[in-house]
Symmetry: C3
Subunit: 203 residues, 3 copies
Amino acid sequence: MLLETLELVGIVAFAASGALVGVSKRFDVFGVCVVGAFTGVGGGIVRDLLLGIHPPTSLTSWPLLGTALATSVVVFFLHSALGRLRREILVLDALGMGLFASTGAAIALDAGAGALASALIGATAAIGGGILRDVLVNEVPLLLHRDLYAIPALLGAAFVVAGTSAGLADNTCLVIGTVVASGLRLIAMWRHWSLPGPRRPRE
Amino acid sequence: MLLETLELVGIVAFAASGALVGVSKRFDVFGVCVVGAFTGVGGGIVRDLLLGIHPPTSLTSWPLLGTALATSVVVFFLHSALGRLRREILVLDALGMGLFASTGAAIALDAGAGALASALIGATAAIGGGILRDVLVNEVPLLLHRDLYAIPALLGAAFVVAGTSAGLADNTCLVIGTVVASGLRLIAMWRHWSLPGPRRPRE
Amino acid sequence: MLLETLELVGIVAFAASGALVGVSKRFDVFGVCVVGAFTGVGGGIVRDLLLGIHPPTSLTSWPLLGTALATSVVVFFLHSALGRLRREILVLDALGMGLFASTGAAIALDAGAGALASALIGATAAIGGGILRDVLVNEVPLLLHRDLYAIPALLGAAFVVAGTSAGLADNTCLVIGTVVASGLRLIAMWRHWSLPGPRRPRE
C-alpha cells in the first residue's frame, strides 16, 4: 500500500521534472506530455524489463501513466506561476530519484532478485527516468555532471535491501531508503558537494 | 498474412526514413545501413522486449532485417534521384508510424496483453523506431516537435484494440488502424495542426 | 572458463574506453565511473534483455560491474600518464567490440537462440556498449562514422556461430571470432578503409 503510494509520488515528481524540462525547451503541450510521461514511467519500465515483468506494470495499469500525463498537463498550464524552473527541476528530480530507488529495490526483492541485483535495479529505476529525459531532449544526463547523484541512489536502494534482510518492516525500509537517497542528493546540491574532476593532462 | 505484409511495409517505410536521415548527415553506406536498420526494426524490437518475446522476432527472421537493410542500400544509391529529402522523410515516417501502431497493437493482443497495454505497446512500437533514429543521429526526436505525432499513433493502436474487442475482422482493424494513424499524422502536417506552446514565463 | 575470462577482458576494454571519453569530457570521478560502467556492462545487459535472461548477469554477479568500476577509477587517476587519448579510446573500443561479439554469440547459442539471432545478438552486444557511451555523452555513435565497425562485429559473431555448428571447440571459436572482429576493425582504422559516402545531391 505504502509501496504503491510512494511509486505514484515518485511518478508525479519525475513527470513534473520532465514536463518542466519540456517547457524550458518550449515544446507544445503534447511534447511536454511525452517528455513528462517518459520521465515519469521510464525508470519503472526499465526496472520491469530488467526483472522480466512483461508487459511492464506502467503499461498495464491506468493510474501510473495517467498520473504522469495529468502531472505533465498541470505543469504545462501552471508553470509560469512556478517562476524560475531550474531549481524546481532539480528538487523534483531528487525526490523522484529517492522514491524510485527505494520502491525499485523493494519491487526487485519481491520479484525474487538477489541482494546485489535488487540494489542495482533500484538504482537503475532511480536514474533511468532522468537519463531517458535528458537523452530525449538531447542533453548530457544530469547524473554525469558534478554533485553526487548515483551514489545516493545506490545507498537508498542498498538500505532497503539491507533493512529487509535484517528483518525491518517493509514500510520502514521504504521510508528510510527514500529519505537517505533524496536527502543525500539534496544536501549534495545545497552544499555543492562534488567529487574531483580529472587532472588536466599535460599538453 | 496481412499482418506480416503490413509489418514488412512498415519496416520499408521506417528504414527508408532512417536511411534518408543518414544520407542527409552524409554517413557512408554502412552508417546509412545501420541507421536504416535500427529505424526499421527498432520499434518492433522494443515492442517484443515489452511483451517478453525472446529473442525479438526481428532478430530471428531473415526477411525483417533483410528488408530493412535492402531498403537502406537502395535509398543510399538512389537518393539523389529523390531530390529534396525533408518531405520524403516525414511522409515515410508517418506511413511507418501508422503501420507499426496497428500491427504492434495486434501483435500485443495476440501475445495476451490487455487492452490498455496493447494500445500503449502499439503506440510504443510506432514511435520507438523514430525515437531511436533521432537519438542515434543526435537530434531531438521528431515527436517532440510541433504537429501531432503520438496522438495519431495512440488512436490508431486504440482503434485496433477496440475494433478487435468489438468483433471486427482482424484485417479490417489493421487497415483502418493504419489509415487512422498515418492519415491523421499526414493531415496534421499538411494543415500544420499543432498544439499550443507554453506561455512565456514572466522574465 | 575462457568465455568468462574474455567477457571480463571485454568489460575492462569497454569500461576503459568509456572512462577515457568521460575524462575527455572533464566529468568528475563519479561521472567517469558511470560512463565507464555503462559502457563496460551495457552491451551485456542489452544482450541479456534480448535473450530473456532476467535479471541480466551483469547485475547479479559482483565481478562484472566491479571490474567495470575498478577500471574506470584506475583510468580516472592514471589517464594523464596515458597522454593523448583519442587513439587509446579507439583501440580499446575495437578490442572490447571483438570480445563482446564472440562471447555474445556464444552466450546466445548457449541460451538456445538460433543461428541468425545468435550472430545478431553477438553483434548487438558488441556495438551496444559503445552506442550507450556515445548517446550518454551526447555524441553521434562511433559506428556511424567512417571506417568499418559493425561489419567486423557481425563477421566475428558469425564466425563463432558457424564454427560452433561446424563442430569446432568452443574456445577455438571464441579466440578466432575475437581476432577476426577486433583485427578487422583495427586494420580498417589503420588503413582508413571506409565505404563510399553518399553522392552529393544536385543542389
